[in-house]
């Protein structure tokens, strides 16, 4: 039998039908839904007189529009409120399980799925959100879909898809202290570019990946989409199985044993071949800081903003020039000279308990620098928030001068009230530094939670390896 990749196994086990040109219908096990990309899909379903094929496969949560401050009076912005109410109504109409805004289980869709055990190894997971790649950390095939596809999955439990090529990103060795999964993700994107993974499903492997916690693996797979890959994944091992065990939606008793036996087969076989292989040495990865308006515009913290002579062609030179101007920085500027106005610790990339613990280690007993106008911590879910509070992390942050907020997407994309003002510069643990992403004219530098906390304390970027 030929050796198979993890991706081959996940794909083949879900093919319902295949056309001659390779277009297939693949079965979807889990459909996560949020308020922004679902209203038009539910409307389409209703107009056609259809019902969800398997309503139990759906889990819904409002996350993008919810306020991160006191919610007891609802959402002030009427447009945001209508979108969340529309989700509530659609879920009620079709009998979809929803964690509403004031449910403690509410949070960012990519945080709550795994937290609830609603994401399991071997599943196909979709959501109308590009960062659905996050769930691949569990040895699942997970990708973001558009709204028409949300409606399609609702109506048919299948997705029309074509198999991607397979890329292996192998990271061997041991990360330095203070270097995280976020830095691996940014280093990979720096190496292959934001289109480097286009057309591929990426499997992350190697000893440095095996050593990551599930939180770290989720951070890494989360950013596969920033490398252009629709799906990222990591093979199942003991870390995966330990994490899944005992969660509300996880199997129990005999079914648990049968499931685990199957899950243990979810890895690439020895000798499986990939269409592309990228290798990194863990020891060489530094804490990363993006300097521009694309995640591929990234350097190590002790580096400098590159100058135009380093650009690969005219198109990139043009991009860099626009990025310097938008970001208000200059070529050759040391990264450590970049001062920040705001700090955001949160998003589906870095808002899990481990992220908050790591940031708290840096913030403990320190004070946010005077030039930092706002430093905020937004837990990924109500349960993460409760856990952090049980560990006293909220107090560490508040004592240091950070704001401690309610869970949601928040300033990752600034659809709610949390945003940057024009020209403001932010150290952010989110995943996109596009123009205007965190507010029109806002300037985003992507970093790990440790690096964000360190920047809040110092008022500019510093090498967190010298602190932890």
């Amino acid at each position: 039998m030929t050796a198979k990749t993890l991706y081959d196994k996940l794909w083949e086990s879900h093919v319902v039908h295949q056309e001659a040109d390779g277009t297939a219908l693949i079965w979807i096990d889990r459909h996560l839904v949020h308020e922004v990309t679902s209203p038009q899909a539910f409307e389409g379903l209703k107009l056609a007189g259809r019902k969800p094929w398997r309503v139990q496969s759906i889990l819904a949560v409002p996350d993008h529009n919810v306020p991160t401050t006191d919610r007891s009076h609802g959402i002030a912005d009427p447009v945001s409120r209508l979108q969340v109410e529309t989700l509530d109504q659609n879920c009620a109409d079709f009998g979809v399980t929803e964690f509403k805004m004031n449910d403690t289980r509410q949070g960012i869709v990519h945080v709550i799925g795994p937290e609830q055990g609603a994401t399991l190894p071997g599943m196909t997971v979709v959501c109308g959100d590009s960062h659905t790649s996050t769930h691949g950390a569990f040895g699942a095939l997970a990708h973001g879909i558009g709204t028409s596809e949300v409606e399609h999955v609702l109506a048919t439990q299948c997705l029309v898809a074509k198999k991607s090529k397979a890329m292996l990103v192998r990271v061997e060795g041991q990360l330095q202290k203070g270097v995280t999964a976020k830095d691996i993700a940014l280093a990979v994107i720096g190496k292959i570019g934001t289109a480097g993974g286009t057309g591929y499903a990426i499997e992350f492997a190697g000893s440095a990946i095996r050593a990551l916690s599930m939180e770290g693996r989720m951070t890494l797979c989360n950013m596969a989409i920033e490398a252009g890959a629709r799906a990222g994944m990591v093979a199942v091992d003991e870390t995966t199985i330990d994490y899944v065990k005992g969660r509300p939606f996880s199997p129990t008793a005999d079914q648990w044993n049968a499931a685990v036996a199957y899950w243990r087969t979810l890895h690439s076989d020895e000798g499986a071949s990939f269409d592309a292989v990228i290798e990194l040495k863990a020891e060489e990865i530094q804490p990363q800081v993006t300097w521009g308006t694309s995640p591929e515009m990234v350097v190590g913290v002790d580096g400098r903003v590159p100058d135009l002579s380093q650009a690969k062609d005219d198109v990139q030179r043009g991009d860099w020039e626009r990025a310097y101007a938008y970001m208000g920085i200059e070529a050759n500027m040391p990264i450590s000279d970049i001062r920040v106005d705001k700090v955001f610790i949160g998003s589906c990339t870095n808002s899990r308990i481990e992220d908050l613990r790591a940031a708290a280690v840096v913030a403990r007993g320190k004070k946010v620098a005077a030039n930092v106008k706002l430093a905020m911590v937004v837990p990924g879910s109500g349960l993460v928030k409760a856990q952090a509070e049980a560990e006293g992390l909220d107090k560490v942050f508040k004592d240091a001068g950070f704001e401690w907020r309610e869970p949601g997407c928040s300033m990752c994309l600034a659809m709610n009230a949390d945003r940057l003002e024009p020209g403001e510069r932010c150290a952010s643990t989110s995943n996109r530094n596009f123009e205007g992403r965190q507010g029109q004219g806002g300037r985003t530098h992507l970093v790990s939670p440790e690096m964000a906390a360190a920047a809040a304390i110092a008022g500019h970027f510093v090498d967190v390896r010298q602190i932890v």
Binding site: V16, H17, E19, A20, D21, T23, L25, W27, D29, V36, T37, P39, Q40, A48, R50, W53, R54, Q56, N65, D77, V79, L82, Q83, A118, L120, M123, D129, S130, G144, I145, G146, S148, E149, H152, A155, T156, Q157, V160, A195, T198, G199, G228, R230, F249, Q255, W256, A258, A259, Y262, S294, V315, G318, D319, L413, M415, R432, F434, E435, G436, R437
Partner: protein, 213 residues
């Protein structure tokens, strides 16, 4: 979905790589629960000098004269010519909705982001991948010739320039079929309803733990 067969359209050049979906339609407009009406806010932050919010009267907002789509010669364009990795970023289908509502029916670029590419086909927009060198030539021709139009024939899979040069392009058979006929995927998929049911029945036995919740 609106079918796409042939198009003879004015070409607008957007000379940037990595144009992301946040640029195509900024997040504040994603709060709409409708599929239509996004056109006036396509490229909002580049197109207008003020900050746009839902509900504004876009016809009275100050236009950015430096933004290429605002130039008089590109008014009425239905073909967008752009650079690599167009549509990267989020999965928001609001991006193709905005481009379609603006009037674009075809987009030519060296490469596209996967989800965006896919979303275009679901909305009657034809995204065409073309060699970077050819895209470069097209940019030069558009710059040199006011009123530059391309003729796109999906059936024949060709793009024809005003000088009569015909350039072939690739498109998946399934996508082409749907686009030519204006078919939506759900109707097509439901033709396989028996296969889906059979798969589900078998799968329930193999992985019963997936059917508990």
């Amino acid at each position: 979905m609106q079918a796409f067969t042939t198009l003879n359209g004015l070409v607008a050049p957007l000379d940037r790589a990595n144009v992301d979906t946040d640029a195509i339609i900024p997040k504040q407009f994603l709060k709409s629960i409708k599929r239509s009406g996004f056109g006036p806010n396509a490229f909002d932050e580049w197109r207008y000098l003020d900050h746009g919010e839902p509900g504004m009267d876009n016809s009275v907002r100050p236009l950015n004269p430096d933004f290429v789509l605002n130039q008089p010669r590109f008014q009425g364009a239905s073909v967008l010519l752009t650079r690599e990795n167009f549509g990267c970023g989020s999965s928001r289908e609001h991006a193709p909705w905005a481009l379609l509502d603006y009037g674009f029916r075809a987009i030519i670029a060296p490469s596209f982001a996967d989800i965006f590419f896919n979303n275009c086909f679901k909305n009657g927009i034809l995204p065409i991948r073309m060699d970077a060198a050819i895209v470069d030539e097209l940019f030069r021709e558009v710059a040199a010739n006011e009123g530059y139009r391309l003729t796109i024939d999906l059936e024949k899979q060709t793009v024809t320039t005003p000088s009569g040069r015909s350039i072939a392009f690739d498109v998946d058979a399934h996508r082409k079929y749907c686009l030519l006929n204006g078919f939506d995927d759900i109707g097509l998929t439901l033709r396989h309803v028996d296969e889906i049911r059979a798969f589900e029945a078998k799968y329930r036995i193999e992985q019963p733990w997936l059917f508990n919740q």
